[in-house]
């Protein structure tokens, strides 16, 4: 998804992913969800395109 999806690809991604996480999207909510998913995936592309060295560990630390 790093490349900008077409509107059809975006709608298909929302429908398929929502099914996989068991999240029903009502028809009246679907256009808004597609819009905001598009915004989030644009932010995601900025994150994914950045080359990170392998040794950079995720920020949260778990203390057992």
């Amino acid at each position: 998804m790093a490349e900008s999806p077409t509107p059809e690809e975006l709608a298909a991604y929302v429908d398929e992913t929502a099914k996989r996480v068991g999240l029903p999207i009502a028809p009246e909510h679907r256009p808004g969800v597609i819009q905001f998913t598009g915004i989030l995936l644009a932010h995601a592309a900025l994150v994914l395109e950045f080359p990170l060295p392998d040794e950079v560990e995720s920020a949260p630390v778990f203390r057992p």
């Binding site: 909510h29 905001f36 994150v47 950045f50």
Partner: protein, 469 residues
């Protein structure tokens, strides 16, 4: 001793000023509480800041302060000071709504949040709970369930969010001190738009126990107030370790109030350029220059990849926020606020690869910013890209580009809370104009640095809280 208090007398003092009058026996705590209740009744509905008011509890607490003082006991540093808290902090006896309709079904809280309890122990008198964006997901507090919070300086405009009630209650002169939470800018944005001081301490400096989480990676407890010394005093009362909050720092408390008079000697100060110098109205950058000129600062430095930090903050916030509410999103999406629902639903669809990479980027960015703080102590940046937009205004033109209003109010706050830096938003003096804030930013756990700079700016008159007439 005075047993009544006019609005003019009530709003003339900051929180510590009121406490000093009460402790010195010039006015009763009960009279101050009655003045606060009168302001909340008279002016509260116009700004819609409160979701609940606690008059009986407040009167009982105030009388306890008066009794302690009459008996010669210490009633605490905030003796009799009225305050209020964002409706995501637990308050024993009432249900924590977090701006939602769904949470109305929950039982009342059995104990106060740790931060609330700390202020009450210091003698402060809790007046009630404050309106907010649903589950703290927003920058404008146009809450569909409880109505929009209105800006105290122009009722057609937003107060900012998500701690909109916390900003408006201070700006309208209802209470001098409020608690808010800041995940992406939710203390600093309303402080900027309402003309108040807003302190977001370092991530983990203040316990979040008893507050409703939004996105745990970034959730901070913060304070909005009338003066630098007020927000410093509140921080000193609340800061320190709490084993119940897994991200609360084990560092011992480091009091800031005694350091406010130290001035800015020895502090290296610079203006942030790059991301923080574009995408805003000229007035936002003029406010930064106004502060920089008083401090004699001309140096510019860059926080690398700040725009990407904001993007990473967006995806982490959406992912974590959606997961907190996933069960309700699946079962009863129609009960969410339309202004948050579709964003929460979208947040549940973010791929794991993006979330993990955003958290790894966060570690990389923290290291780069730490390098920057080896060369400089305090950074200046706008708080918001513009003064308060109108209620219902979906789009705004910034730097010649039409953008969505609501997410863009956090464009300068998000890259800083992303790595938990302490930030003080100071209200720049702009006679005849709507309020605007400037962020003073320091390295982690250096709250004293930004508070010292803020205190100097306040003493020079370049920043001052604006209480509506």
């Amino acid at each position: 001793m005075s047993v009544t208090m006019s609005r003019a007398e009530y709003v003339a003092s900051d929180a510590l000023g009121l406490a000093a009058s009460i402790r010195a026996g010039r006015v009763r705590a009960r009279a101050v509480t009655e003045a606060a209740l009168a302001q909340i009744a008279a002016r509260g509905p116009a700004v819609n800041a409160f979701t609940s008011v606690l008059p009986e509890q407040a009167r009982t607490d105030a009388e306890r302060v008066d009794a302690a003082l009459a008996a010669g006991r210490d009633a605490g540093p905030l003796a009799g000071v009225p305050f209020a808290v964002k409706d995501l902090f637990d308050v024993a006896g009432i249900t924590t709504l977090a701006g939602s309709r769904i949470n109305r079904e929950r039982p009342p809280a059995v104990r106060d949040a740790v931060a609330v309890a700390a202020l009450r122990r210091a003698g402060a008198v809790l007046m009630g709970a404050l309106n907010m964006d649903e589950y703290a997901y927003g920058f404008t507090t146009e809450n569909s369930h409880y109505g929009p919070v209105r800006n105290p300086h122009d009722s057609t405009r937003v107060a900012g969010g998500s701690s909109g009630g916390s900003g408006a209650a201070v700006g309208a002169g209802l209470v001098p001190l409020t608690l808010g939470s800041d995940t992406n800018g939710s203390v600093r944005v309303p402080a900027s738009l309402c003309g108040a001081f807003g302190l977001k301490p370092t991530y983990g400096r203040v316990s979040r126990t008893g507050s409703t989480l939004f996105a745990g990676s970034f959730d901070h407890v913060g304070t909005i107030g009338r003066s630098v010394r007020d927000v410093a005093a509140a921080l000193d009362l609340m800061q320190g370790p709490d084993p119940e909050d897994p991200v609360c720092s084990a560092r011992p408390a480091a009091p800031c109030l005694p350091l406010l008079g130290e001035g800015v000697g020895g502090l290296r100060i610079a203006v942030l350029d790059g991301h923080f110098a574009r995408g805003g109205e000229p007035a936002a950058f003029a406010a930064v220059e106004q502060v920089a000129a008083v401090l004699g600062v001309s140096r510019r430095v860059t926080m690398p990849e700040a725009h990407r930090a904001r993007a990473a903050a967006m995806v982490i916030t959406a992912s974590e926020g959606a997961n907190v509410h996933l069960a309700d999103l699946k079962r009863r999406p129609q009960d969410f606020d339309p202004l948050t629902r579709d964003r929460f639903l979208a947040g549940a669809l973010v791929p794991a690869a993006v979330y993990v990479q955003a958290q790894r980027f966060r570690a990389w960015y923290r290291a780069r910013v730490a390098e920057l703080f080896a060369e400089v102590d305090v950074l200046l940046a706008p708080t918001t890209p513009c003064p308060a937009p109108r209620i219902g205004q979906d789009r705004i033109v910034l730097d010649g580009v039409e953008v969505l209003t609501r997410p863009n109010l956090g464009v300068y706050t998000q890259p800083l809370s992303f790595i938990g830096l302490p930030v003080l938003s100071v209200p720049v003096t702009r006679p005849g104009a709507l309020p605007l804030g400037v962020q003073l930013v320091a390295a982690p756990f250096r709250e004293a640095h930004v508070l010292r700079v803020g205190a100097l700016l306040e003493a020079k008159g370049v920043v001052a809280a604006a209480v509506s007439a």
